[in-house]
Symmetry: C2
Subunit: 348 residues, 2 copies
């Protein structure tokens, strides 16, 4: 069978875990398992030990993060984007790189900063999906089996079933409202779109040529000079640019306690699943001392965080920044980050 190549997208600079995450050390470079534990990127890489050899691993990130990423992933090739241009240019570049060495090679594209609760289940699904992608001219995705009516994710609507846990994808569906999400869950016909794809390099390049022909044109005109090509590549997502338009998309059902770690509150979901929640709430770094307090999420490396009579707060500290937020406002942390950027840019 063809070799498996791993392409990890690690360009994110999200603000949803501020102050733990900053522009210099975004989520993929953080650990959520406690002080001194492996980062999400390290965990992502180690899931492929024995599946993808070092020389077939590649990380795509932005220039400002290249050095930190390289330190965290010794020996792994790092593609350094001149600027963030969403995922389509990143996938296109990576596909050109794989194709130049191994056109029949299967590449797995996935984010650097997600959680997999059951790694062996994840690896088994990857093996099946890689075999399928090597054999068929398809764009293979890993769709996550939903366990709740989540409104924070996009969905895949399943078409014809091909094999157990393998179906055609009928449509990519935007984040639904609560009513629709409940319908999706009840129907059993939807999976979460976790942004994980497998295909042969030649197959995705053909799809680019069909749906985003400007990519090849810009690339050829720039003679593969990244600095020249990148600003001109269409800044859109691979989902919107290619996947939603292609007709040869199939999905494996991934059932491995996946979580995208999208906000402080997902740490809580995770901790409860792992039985790591305790009196006072969840503490992902530092030490929590809770008196008559419940449902809090605490992250303060090396610190003792004492709570008295408070419920449902996020309390996070990093260097000279301390955040205290109501848990149900976790999605609005960007408001704080924008304000902090003006006052103390070095803390953001």
């Amino acid at each position: 069978m063809s070799q498996l190549h791993l392409v990890i997208m690690a360009g994110g600079s999200g603000t949803r875990f501020w102050p733990k995450s900053t522009s210099r050390r975004p989520k993929q470079l953080l650990s959520f398992e406690g002080d001194g534990k492996p980062t999400l990127l390290a965990r992502t890489l180690e899931r492929f030990d024995g599946l993808v050899p070092l020389e077939n691993r590649m990380i795509v990130t932005t220039e400002s993060l290249t050095r930190a990423i390289a330190e965290e992933a010794p020996g792994v090739r790092v593609l350094s984007e001149p600027q963030a241009r969403n995922t389509a240019p990143c996938v296109y570049w990576a596909a050109r790189e794989v194709a130049s060495r191994d056109p029949k090679g299967v590449m797995l594209v996935m984010p650097a900063d997600h959680h997999m609760g059951r790694v062996e289940d994840f690896r088994a699904t990857v093996r099946r999906a890689a075999e399928r992608a090597a054999r068929c001219d398809e764009l293979v995705t890993l769709g996550v089996k939903p366990d709740r009516a989540e409104t924070g994710y996009g969905y895949l609507r399943l078409g014809e079933a091909l094999e157990p846990a393998l179906s055609q994808v009928e449509a990519f569906v935007e984040k639904p409202d609560a009513r629709k999400a409940a319908e999706f869950l009840a129907s059993g016909r939807y999976l979460w779109n976790g942004g994980m794809f497998l295909w042969r390099a030649e197959v995705i390049l053909r799809a680019f040529d069909e749906f985003m022909p400007e990519m090849k044109r810009v690339w050829d005109e720039s003679h593969g000079q990244i600095d020249q090509a990148y600003p001109r590549l269409t800044a859109t997502s691979i989902d919107y640019g290619v996947m939603e338009r292609a007709r040869n998309v199939v999905t494996f059902t991934l059932d491995c306690a996946w979580d995208d770690l999208g906000s402080w509150t997902s740490l809580e979901t995770l901790a409860y699943a792992l039985g790591a929640a305790r009196e006072g709430g969840v503490c992902t770094a530092g030490e929590l001392l809770a008196v008559q307090s419940r449902g809090n999420v605490v992250d303060a490396p090396g610190k003792l965080v004492a709570l008295l009579g408070v419920d449902d707060l996020i309390v996070a500290q990093n260097g000279d920044a301390i955040l205290v937020a109501r848990k149900d406002r976790a999605q609005d942390i960007r408001l704080v980050v924008e304000a902090a950027k003006k006052r103390r840019p070095e803390l953001v």
Copy 2:
């Protein structure tokens, strides 16, 4: 007139401002005016510039604090108590010291860690009270004019008026409940007991001989050896041991925006009085960034504290300790401190 001697009681090791206050650096050694500003002890001392010469100043504290206190009050004599025994032994010792140098000297005894909003009004009252104490064989107190029905303080019930803002004290009254406190305020016949006293050394020593004769006996038997005397002196308050029993107690009405700074919430009262409260609440150290948050009290030297959607919290940081407490639980911080003492004693 007799000389004025100043006796500052600075032995407190309260926990109500933890983690800002610790056993090594209690409240009197802290500033509540912002990073790098003078401590409460320094402010207390500077109120007597021009009133009490350096050689007539004395601070009584416990052995463990002696060094830190001496550094904060250069040139001031420090009496180092072998152990904390409440205020009666402390006053007795100080009175013996003053009497040995200047029996007719008037001594002013007061805490090190209170706030005076209008210093000139305080000084004017001290001057009048010192003149009275020099002239009359009385135990003079400074009773604070109440501006609210406070249940956290003891009260003085006024007897016969002697001069404007000077009355006999009919009784010392324990902390009242809310209904009684409201009656006290409405009656105009009560002042707060702020623990500030003036008397000639010989007058208070006579009162000790009358109401606590064991003090002199222990002292004489120990030949003035503090280490021997202290453990045997009656550990009670000067209020209970002497003042409540004496019949020659008078009080001046002190009206100078006094506050005992008894908890994090008194900082708020103070800040509002000073017009220092802002969006999000009050910040006594560090920088506050508040988004849709109100009524909080923040103290985190050198830190940026970002609040999102939270109201009426205390957020305080010192070294490796962070406290987040509901403001109406400020009186229960000792619960947290007791728990922290077991887990991280170095932080308490």
